[in-house]
Symmetry: C2
Subunit: 198 residues, 2 copies
């Protein structure tokens, strides 16, 4: 674990190592590789090199650990604001660009992979994500759209994005998996737009 | 296991019970609930009420058991034939109707859920399904389409279908999860058509 030790050294602050950060990093790796159900607090502690009691000290439950570990650096409400900011007839392109941009960064891909693997295998995580996405993204975006059935439309956009991410990043279905990003955005933009305002 | 015993009694042929069928039934339940990685040949044997050696007698590997258990009653090539049979400007609607029709039947839903859970958690199953879908559906349908980039277009259709199924049947994302089937087909048909011939 040379890389990890190195990173811990760099991140160490006076007074002690960043134990909480190490636990989050270890849990993200496990959630991404094994999903929520197969990840245990004990295994995360072992991987982070800390006592299991410390994991419970920082995080009351596996639910809480998951939510903290998955927290994206950007506030979801800021994402919703970026989506609705601009001409309504280009909203499909903005959504495709923002969503795929998250997946194309290594850190974003690890978190999104962990979320997808966990959602599919755990009813608990499915419920958490369902509620989170609805409240923080689908709801706000729906409210700004001046169309009937706005919530259904925005959720249909979510289905296209979910499927595109599954095929490109998790299943490796060709040619979607290796087509260049600009082409993929060009293909998805009019389809998302049709869902939203067609 | 009253139901199972009853079914076994009904299905019993002279000369012995349908052991192979029982093993397949038990494996489908396990693949659907736990996915490919968390399903063991030993646990399937226990659930089917047979000796583990018998499972290995009928199925050389877990791969083989999965392929046999997931085999849909209809030949995938027949599905490809039904998709391309008809006017090209209604192909989006035919695809949505056929695909969602499989998910709406209880048996179809169990098999598809098992496939989705397993694809996301096992690189091995992801490879199997990727190759199978490409050879048996995406390839044949692409060949009949008189458009440039046919294979990319058909694969993009697959991404929309994958995401719609995830949201409706696995994650329960509202309102897509509970909207009536006819409405969902009406919404997906023009989007799939745009992917294919737009």
């Amino acid at each position: 674990m040379t890389a990890s030790t190195g990173r811990r050294g760099v991140g160490r602050r006076p007074g002690g190592p960043d134990t909480r950060g190490e636990i989050l990093r270890a849990s993200r790796e496990s959630f991404a590789q094994k999903g929520f159900s197969a990840t245990s607090m004990r295994a995360v502690a072992r991987e982070a090199g800390v006592d299991a009691a410390l994991v419970h000290h920082y995080f009351a439950s596996k639910d809480e650990l998951f939510i903290e570990a998955m927290a994206i650096p950007v506030d979801p409400r800021q994402i919703a604001a970026r989506i609705v900011d601009g001409p309504q007839d280009e909203i499909g392109r903005r959504i495709a660009t923002i969503f795929l941009g998250i997946w194309e960064s290594p850190e974003g891909r690890q978190r999104m992979t962990a979320i997808f693997r966990s959602v599919v295998t755990s009813d608990e995580v499915a419920r958490l994500m369902r509620e989170g996405i609805t409240q923080m993204i689908i709801g706000p975006v729906s409210k700004t759209l001046d169309v009937p059935d706005a919530q259904l439309r925005v959720t249909l956009v979510a289905t296209q994005l979910i499927g595109a991410a599954m095929a490109r990043y998790l299943v490796g279905l060709e040619p979607v998996a290796s087509v260049d990003l600009a082409t993929l955005i060009d293909r998805l933009a009019p389809v998302l737009q049709l869902h939203l305002t067609g």
